[in-house]
Amino acid sequence: MNNAKLTKSDGDKAMEQILENISGDASAQMGMRDMAGPFGKVLIDVATVRPEVVALTADLSKYTDLFAFAEIYPDRFLNVGMAEQNLVNVACGIAQAGLVPVATTFGAFLTRRATDFIVMQAALPKANVKLIGAVPGITATFGPSHTSIDDLAIMRAIPNMVVIDPADGTELGEALSAALAYEGPVYIRQPFATHVDDAENKDRKPFQIGKNVLLREGSDIGIVAMGFMVDEALAAANELEKDGIQASVLKVSTIKPFDEDSLLALSASTKALVTAENHSVVGGLNSVVCEALAREGQQVKVRAIGVPQDCFPEFGSREYVQEQLGMMPADIAQAARDLLV
């Protein structure tokens, strides 16, 4: 071994400094897993009894809960590499062959990069494909390339597309099950497999495409929430109750087709509404709610909690970004108080 002493460089000093003060803080990255989570378990269960169900991904099997499926059913799994446009076209071809493909990648890449392919090959011919967009909204913890704050707006505008944003892992599994029982193209957001199940698990009503669920009833303010913001809405409702404000919380899981009846009932029984979504306030839940209210001639004030217009979220953990963007329970509660003044 050559023991020639290297001159002490800038890098050496950097290393000395860090060795004195090592930080081990780090968050798990983007829900990577080798074992089946709620999504993977449902997929494997369905695939066991339905040999026509197959799965494909664009180099993200470990990050989209497909790894276990691929181990169990290697012949029914296809990894197309990093090629999202091809992922969609191949899935549609598989559907045309009579199989039921479940195609996964990150939501940002699927809905931005492959939009034309989804429109022409999935939506137009009503291909029986299930498109799964992982790490939705601000949960990606990578940066603007991975942050899908516009996927619901894009997918909702596409004819024939069913669009689902599950609140938690349990609902994700139920949504996949429902989507596989439905004939036609479906887009499902895939929240972190590690995300905790929603606070209202007791007495939970099973997921149905196009049905909202009223989780809590109160006559002052109505909070319409979707995705992980359902938990935040429930926390906000608890906070408001301490101030003597009674809040309803309506959980939306399917943004298209949208359950208007539940919304109209909510607006009729409360004084004002707050929408809370893990998405841009443009084109997503807030838009759906306001469009429905205006169409029905309901005069009600609505405040939007979500990613503000013209904002690329800062880089950081979900918790950090959520706080930066004013998407915390306290922000929902404050919006409610402002509306009631």
Binding site: G11, M82, G143, S145
Partner: protein, 282 residues
Amino acid sequence: MLAVNLPNLKKRARDVRLNVLYQGMKFGQGYIGQGMQTADIMALLHFHEMNWSPDRLEDPTRDRFLLSTGHYAISMYATYAALGMLTRDQLASYGQDGSKLSLGAEVGHVPGIEFSGGSLGQGLGVSAGLAWGLALQGNSARVFNYMSDGETQEGSVWEAAMLAGSRGMGNLVNIVDVNRVQADGPLVLEIEPLAEKFRAFGWWVEEVDGNDMAALVEVFEKARDVADKPKAIICHTQIGAGSPTLESYPKAHFVRVEPDQWQGIYEEFEVASAEGLKGAAQ
């Protein structure tokens, strides 16, 4: 021909690696293996090959560097720190909440960054447009695109490659870093024969050991003499290069390293540095 100071370039590559390890330790995780593997190429480009310097970030005649593989931002920051463009404190913020040093480098966050990465397979098209535009204006600057092997799975890469080849873009140099690893593990879709693919698209192509500084100097020197074709320099690299632990890491795409492992990684890195990296011509 540029004068070459090989020992100095190797020392610079070593500094880049130390800065990569520093960021990895502070964050506890990240694209550390890739940062290590790219260090020789990054050092060569920024300390030797490119007509570029930290005080010319706005100079229209500077060579451009586009990091198509935004995931390798850690080595971009490491290189900038070695050049004095980032402070130690800034470097320490890599990947952390609110940091400008995000996991994929974006334009406007750190001065010098010429391309917003993270969504893969987009750098070559932008580079081709930039190269065409510079040439149109009589600007002799060159454009260096740095992409990973996995990115060649994206169709957009070949749309750009066809354009650059058919237009004979001599001012475009595409570095393809072949480490044969992607997010799901070893390449999930075979990309070889890569050199033949680029040749078929009208490119000048060379393959080189991307962790061998002397070989790198030589191949870039050769590329400089080819005026009428875009250049693809296929660099075969070892993920984690310089750190035996990181080289052997089972999930090398995005590694998490426990605090107590760092001392060992640093010590073995010192040994590896003193002996010269694998394949490095002494």
